[in-house]
């Protein structure tokens, strides 16, 4: 597996996650990632055996209430009904929409809801060129490393190479991810975007 997610990093970072062309590091990287992948699969397997298998459906982790991220024409409801839906959402507030149930907690329809989870750890991730946005729970990550691995699992592995990770901070500015310590990043990130290299 070639991991060449290029991130423009400042050199004073502790975690070497410049994944460019360094064989030894890459091998190490590979094995680490393989382990991670396995644990992800294992978790999934566990759930399968415990209850009704959950699917990582196209809409898992997706919040489609933001109009720009919706697939045009789907679901097939006309503008009159859309107006009603919007109306209801505004009344309920954003919190209920963001109350996701992750795979580890039993999937979409079964298991316990993660009621204790903070609402602010989910951020939207958009990949340039992909119509549907996804959402990722930042509280499950402790480093850029794991975040990137998750993103690779979410989007097409191969595609994610050749993209760089950017984020929008509290001031609304778009910055390159990886420049600052993880903690600082977590506290200011509002949303993520994977941009093609060369932009």
């Amino acid at each position: 597996m070639n991991l060449q997610l290029e991130l423009a990093l400042s050199s004073n970072l502790d975690e070497g996650f410049d994944l460019n062309d360094r064989n030894e590091e890459r091998q190490e990287e590979n094995s680490r990632l393989m382990k991670r992948k396995r644990s992800f699969d294992e978790t999934f397997e566990e759930i399968k055996s415990v209850q009704v298998p959950q699917t990582l459906s196209l809409l898992d982790h997706i919040d489609l209430c933001d109009e720009e991220d919706r697939v045009v024409g789907w679901p097939p409801i006309n503008s009159w009904r859309k107006k009603i839906c919007h109306h209801h959402q505004n009344r309920r507030g954003r919190n209920t929409i963001m109350n996701y149930v992750t795979v580890e907690n039993g999937g979409r329809d079964g298991g316990e809801r993660s009621g204790g989870r903070s609402n602010f750890t989910y951020v939207k991730v958009k990949m340039e060129g992909v119509g549907i946005a996804r959402k990722v729970d930042l509280s499950r990550h402790h480093s850029y490393q794991t975040l990137i691995e998750t993103l690779m699992a979410m989007f097409d592995n191969e595609k994610v190479q050749g993209y760089k990770l950017t984020y929008q901070d509290k001031e609304g500015d778009w910055l390159l991810a990886g420049d600052m310590p993880w903690e600082t990043f977590i506290n200011s990130v509002q949303r993520l975007k994977l941009l093609r290299n060369g932009h």
Binding site: V52, L58, L64, P75, C85, K135
Partner: protein
């Protein structure tokens, strides 16, 4: 020696034929029958306004009294057809204004109607009676004012779910004081308030009023006076059905409803407050149709209402009804023919209500007359679909929307091929089908094999290859309309089944893999089709021939390429001609 009935006798006999199919058959018998029939045909239906020109219609049928015309493709309802695409009614109105002075009825669906058109209608047809504008757009309340002011014999004004620019509520006041012929008024789509006193006076002076559907802006406290003024109402649509609970409003409402002994159909109920629902209980026993699809009332209140409607034939409701509510429906409403369950929160990632496939299964088991279904839900299984198919082989329309695209059978994770296969196999009279969920080419094989009466098919995010499309085009003998979005169907199936397209009204394909080159080829092969490429990225010539087009709309026509195309639509054969010259 030739014996024949005098023309007048034939004409008299033909007058009993109301179905177009019968009239078309009659007109093929011989030249004289063709001539007699065409002169006495009073009603025409044009399923695609671009399939024929007004001139051709008028030339053949000189004595028409009622027209029904449809414009944009169905997927326009879901924003897939860009603004400015077409379907302008003005050329039709202007041609008919000259040739059909006795026109009484105009029914339009998904067309662009301007105030100018409305004014022309109001001034050209002295005996104009019925105007139905279903999902139309392009006009304002000024256009409605012209209709109100000039159509002295108007019986029906139905604005359907049109987009009307609301300039003022005073258009209603343009109905003259001596205007009393109104039988049906549907203004439910209007945004702003109409002049209530004008509305009240109108209702009070029209003794034959049978249908009154108000808009959201009419408050609940104003309903009693309208209901009292129209005791013969058969169909009533409320406005916003909410208010602070006040006993006198409530008791007035109860009294007013109880005066309407012929009330059969109810709709409206925006922002419905449960406390006001019991006001209707006195009419429930007669109710045959209930549209609660704008009412966000919870299941227990819905159940309370529905359980009092044993004669219910048609129910439109939000998924707040939940499986539990559908269970009650299935045990109380044995006459149910049509069920539509709409999503209250289609864009939320999580189900907000407990509505699953179970609800539909229960209704299919308990309601023996169920023939028409539209159901939005978040999970489905092959087992459920098979059960539904076995329970209800009399289904005519089955439209299932599993909100998550490509959602598999949630129990087995298999595609839903066998489930939908069972539907088409058991429901031999199925005319309309909408698919959803994870589907492979297999489901199309089942459809092509079994769905012989299928007329309309809607597909999204389904199939693996051209084989899927080929099964449908080669197998579905009765297919008239096919609409496809986001499927991996390309050139092969389309080109191999080119002739089929001439037997259909139309084919829509968006976000598929049909290349520009194939579109051109198809147009060359089939001169009686308009092959329209809709592409907002600019002229298809700017991209390679193999590049897939954004959207494709193919329809048969006897009028050639249309002349009112916007700059993002290209008709393929026109292009070919331009290049040769």
């Amino acid at each position: 020696m030739a014996y024949s009935f005098p023309e007048e006798v034939l004409e008299y006999v033909f007058a009993f034929l109301s179905y177009d199919k019968d009239r078309n058959a009659v007109s093929l018998v011989c030249k004289s029958w063709y001539e007699i029939e065409r002169c006495c045909r009073r009603r025409i239906f044009i399923g695609n306004c671009y399939a024929v020109s007004p001139q051709i219609v008028i030339r053949r049928f000189p004595e028409v009294r009622a027209v029904k015309i449809k414009g944009k493709p169905h997927f326009a309802d879901f924003n897939l057809v860009p603004e400015g695409w077409g379907a302008y009614v003005y050329p039709w109105i202007s041609a008919m204004a000259r040739s059909y002075p006795w026109l009484e009825e105009i029914k339009l669906k998904r067309m662009v109607v301007t105030d100018e058109s409305l004014e022309l209608i109001s001034k050209s047809f002295k005996n104009f009676k019925i105007l139905v504008l279903s999902s139309c757009e392009g006009f304002t309340t000024d256009g409605l004012a012209s209709i109100a002011a000039n159509c002295r014999n108007l019986r029906e004004l139905d604005l359907g779910e049109s987009e009307v620019e609301d300039l003022s509520g005073h258009w209603l006041s343009h109905f003259p004081d001596n205007f009393t012929s109104l039988v049906s008024l549907n203004m439910s789509c209007l945004g702003s308030e109409v002049s209530f006193s004008a509305l009240e006076r109108l209702v009070l002076r029209c003794p034959n009023l049978r249908t009154l559907r108000l808009n959201r802006a009419v408050p609940v406290e104003k309903l009693p006076s309208l209901l009292r003024g129209a005791p013969k109402l058969v169909e009533f649509g409320t406005g916003a059905y909410s208010a602070e609970i006040q006993t006198d409003i409530f008791s007035n409402l109860v009294e007013a409803f109880s005066g309407c002994k012929q009330l059969k159909r109810l709709s409206g109920f925006w922002d419905a407050v449960p406390a006001y629902l019991p006001a209707m209980y006195c009419v429930c026993s007669r109710i045959t149709s209930l549209n609660l699809s704008y009412a966000t009332v919870q299941s227990p209140d819905l159940v309370e209402l529905i359980s009092q409607c044993p004669n219910l034939k048609c129910l439109w409701v939000l998924d707040h009804i939940e499986d539990a509510g559908l269970k009650v429906l299935s045990s109380y409403c044995k006459d149910l023919q049509e069920l539509r369950v709409f999503p209250s929160d289609p864009y939320g990632a999580e189900p907000n209500v407990s509505l699953t496939e179970e609800g539909l299964v229960t209704v299919s088991a308990g309601c023996p007359k169920l023939q028409s279904v539209l159901y939005f839900c978040r999970q489905m299984s092959n087992a459920a679909l098979i059960t539904i198919a076995r329970n209800r082989p009399n289904l005519i329309r089955f439209r299932l929307c599993i909100i998550d695209p490509q959602a598999p059978d949630y129990l087995t994770l298999d595609p839903l091929d066998t489930g939908f296969g069972a539907i088409v196999e058991h429901c031999k009279e199925l005319r309309r089908l909408s698919l959803s969920g994870l589907l492979t080419d297999r489901v199309f094989e089942y459809i092509g094999t079994h769905a012989k009466k299928l007329e309309m098919l809607s597909i999204a995010f389904a199939g693996d290859s051209d084989l899927g499309l080929h099964h449908v085009l080669s197998g579905c003998e009765s297919l008239r309309k096919l609409e496809i979005m986001d499927c991996p169907f390309g050139d092969k199936a389309l080109l191999a089944n080119a002739a089929k397209l001439e037997t259909m009204r139309s084919l829509w394909m968006s976000s598929c893999s049909v290349s520009y080159g194939a579109c051109k080829l198809l147009a060359q092969k089939m001169p009686k089709l308009n092959v329209e490429v809709i592409d907002e990225r600019g002229h298809p010539d700017l991209r390679p021939e193999t590049c897939p087009v954004e959207k494709l709309y193919i329809y048969r026509t006897v009028s050639g390429p249309r002349v009112d195309k916007p700059d993002f639509v290209w008709t393929m054969d026109e292009d070919a001609v331009l290049r040769l010259s």
